[in-house]
Point group: C2
């Protein structure tokens, strides 16, 4: 049997320990091509690079393994991996392990998950992994057996068309992960504040900071699972249509008919 | 009655004719604050600026009107408009008019729609307008009465919590728009190619290009409406959970139980 081809990317960049951990895991499951940003790309979401050219630098190559740094975003990395390096779709895409949570509303800011959505749009089974710990010396070992099980389940079962997985891993500080729960995305938002400062030329500038606000106490949410030391697995779709609102809007007078 | 406060942004940047057209329309409906990127930010999706500071330059101020250029992304513009300029939420956010389609899968790449989603997450009624014409001398006049009607309907009816509108306008080349249709997002993707070139120092570089692939012949889709000279209105939600897949995944052996 041919070994599957696995494309790996992330948004923390090619040097991130989380990426190294994920590469080490997936090399057991297939031939691996890594195309990761050459610098941190957190918060780049689904950005693509259209006004500057894409460059790829080969970092390493050996039997069953290739690694490239890309000057673009995580989504650029997926496209470049498929179209320039592989010249076909991989059998599986994994992104991460992100240093920091991509649960709940974070999915829309996340470069890690944007790479996963991009790949899902092309029909590739795709999984994003994130650890709820922003530090660069975050520990990943406690999650390894769970990550392996999720990858094995996706390899064995496939995923429905254009559906991908958003996997978030609690940081349990040496404790034990209790298990894995399939969840929905919690309803939340970021309440931003800007720290205002004045530069040496007396011009104002602002640093974006924010506080995460969870509006959702549901026990079926990713936030609830993570708070209780479970790994959250949210199936994510590309269709953003609020189908339940269509009939309401159809009753509006959008065409200016007399009533 | 107090006039509503309307925040306006876009992703083509403060100089874009589409933004000017939208500003002219919404000034009839309330006090207007414009915070738009100081340079084109197309394809920036939901990116936020976290490693460099945000700056704002006041362009113009008069009774009921303020205009600022921001060095950040469209999502940064929304946050800065609310937190730095207004110091509260506006009553309405409009984004656009984008030069180019944000129908179908384009919603996930779009800075125009990212601004709208960001604002919706904060509970603000929010609408993104896009014209299916990428040129900077695109004509917007044929759409004005329809845009006004959509804004009036949102002002009068409000929008359900955390639901925003993605409005796309066909380019009819002097012809007539037939009306407005409430639609779902068509299933589609971009099939990318990279144009490979060699720079003067003999290094490869690549330009991202792509072909839009519509996988969805549904007559209830935005693509179908636009192809038939209708304006498409898609209600868009922040919840990316594929709820219909949760039960399938719950049957998987994610916790390694013996069977």
């Amino acid at each position: 049997m041919t070994r599957p081809t696995i494309l790996v990317t992330n948004d923390d960049g090619i040097m991130a320990p989380g990426l190294r951990h994920l590469i080490n895991i997936v090399r057991d499951y297939g031939d691996v091509v890594v195309v990761a940003p050459d610098k941190p790309q957190s918060g780049m979401a689904h950005a693509i690079t259209i006004s500057t050219p894409i460059r790829l630098e080969k970092i390493h190559e050996e039997e069953g393994y290739k690694e490239y740094a890309c000057n673009g975003t995580p989504v650029d990395c997926v496209k470049a991996g498929e179209k320039i390096i592989l010249e076909r779709n991989p059998d599986l895409l994994v992104s991460g392990i992100n240093h920091g949570s991509n649960s709940s509303i974070n999915v829309i800011y996340s470069g890690t998950m944007a790479a996963v959505l991009e790949s899902a749009a092309e029909g590739i089974p795709s999984i994003g992994f994130s650890l709820v710990d922003y530090s660069m010396d975050a520990q990943f070992n406690h999650a390894e057996k769970h990550i392996r099980r999720i990858i094995e389940q996706v390899v064995n079962n496939g995923l429905p068309e254009r559906i991908c997985l958003n996997v978030n891993i609690p940081s349990v500080n040496g404790g034990e992960i209790k298990g894995t729960k399939v969840c929905r995305q919690a309803k939340a938002y970021w309440d931003e504040t800007f720290e205002s400062r004045v530069d040496p030329r007396r011009k104002d500038y602002y640093w974006l900071t924010g506080v995460f606000k969870n509006l959702d106490q549901g026990e079926d949410t990713d936030e609830h699972a993570l708070a209780n030391n479970y790994i959250s697995v949210v199936p994510v779709q590309l269709d953003l249509t609020a189908h339940h609102v269509i009939n309401t809007l159809k009753k509006w007078n959008l065409n200016g008919e007399d009533k």
